[in-house]
Symmetry: C2
Subunit: 138 residues, 2 copies
């Protein structure tokens, strides 16, 4: 019985299961998946311009504008001109955005914790490391 599914299919299945479990949590906090991804990326601090942000999260740069508009309207992020390059805008979390992200992140982690139940710490470590390897190889 070589069950041997494609790795891609396994990733897709796990990803879908996680997304389905996390969807309601995001909804409770009034955020869409992409809005959360933006907040998380900004919280991580690794995005300078809007273009860089779009590339980092693999989101269409022309539609990122509307996404950010929504977050700005909710007071979760700000768009300020970059003093060193006045073409670019620097996107930053507001204090309210920081709080919102922290709250949602904790809720998300609780959901993941539940989905990971039954896996040893070592298995979890290997899982994360292997997924990171797959995402960054080649």
């Amino acid at each position: 019985m070589t069950e041997d599914d494609d790795l891609a299919a396994l990733c897709a299945g796990a990803g879908r299961a996680l997304a389905e479990a996390e969807g309601p949590v995001l909804a409770e906090h009034g955020l869409s998946m992409w809005q959360y991804v933006v907040l998380a990326t900004l919280a991580h601090g690794s995005a300078s311009s809007q273009l860089a942000l779009a590339q980092q999260i693999h989101y269409d740069k022309t539609r990122l504008i509307a996404l950010l508009d929504g977050l700005v309207a909710e007071g979760l992020v700000t768009r300020s001109p970059d003093p060193s390059d006045r073409r670019a805008r620097i996107v930053r979390l507001t204090p309210s955005g920081i709080r919102r992200h922290a709250a949602v992140r904790d809720a998300i982690r609780a959901v993941e914790e539940r989905k990971l139940a039954g896996l040893s710490p070592e298995e979890r470590r290997v899982l994360r490391s292997a997924l990171t390897h797959l995402a960054n190889s080649d």
Copy 2:
């Protein structure tokens, strides 16, 4: 440094990387991702009706018809009436479909092998088992 990305984000990243690597391989064999998923599912033998097939691969049942039409037109699968329930159609791989699937599956596995380079057999085992666990829990 609690890099600690969301598991969902990690799965998405790994899945995207695999899909990007496998896309060209599928194209070389003249198959779309969904066509390959159907072939693989049929090869696995675990689908009776078209409805069951759609649910198994999480594909919209109303659009599965056109997908199957394409595969039938290419002579890779057949749609025959189920003798035990004349409403249902049994979808089967043709000999040509079996060969096509085997060829693509081998090519896909070679790609995955390359992406997995650097992971020990034990790590690969844990990865597969953990992903399966995530996909099937709850």
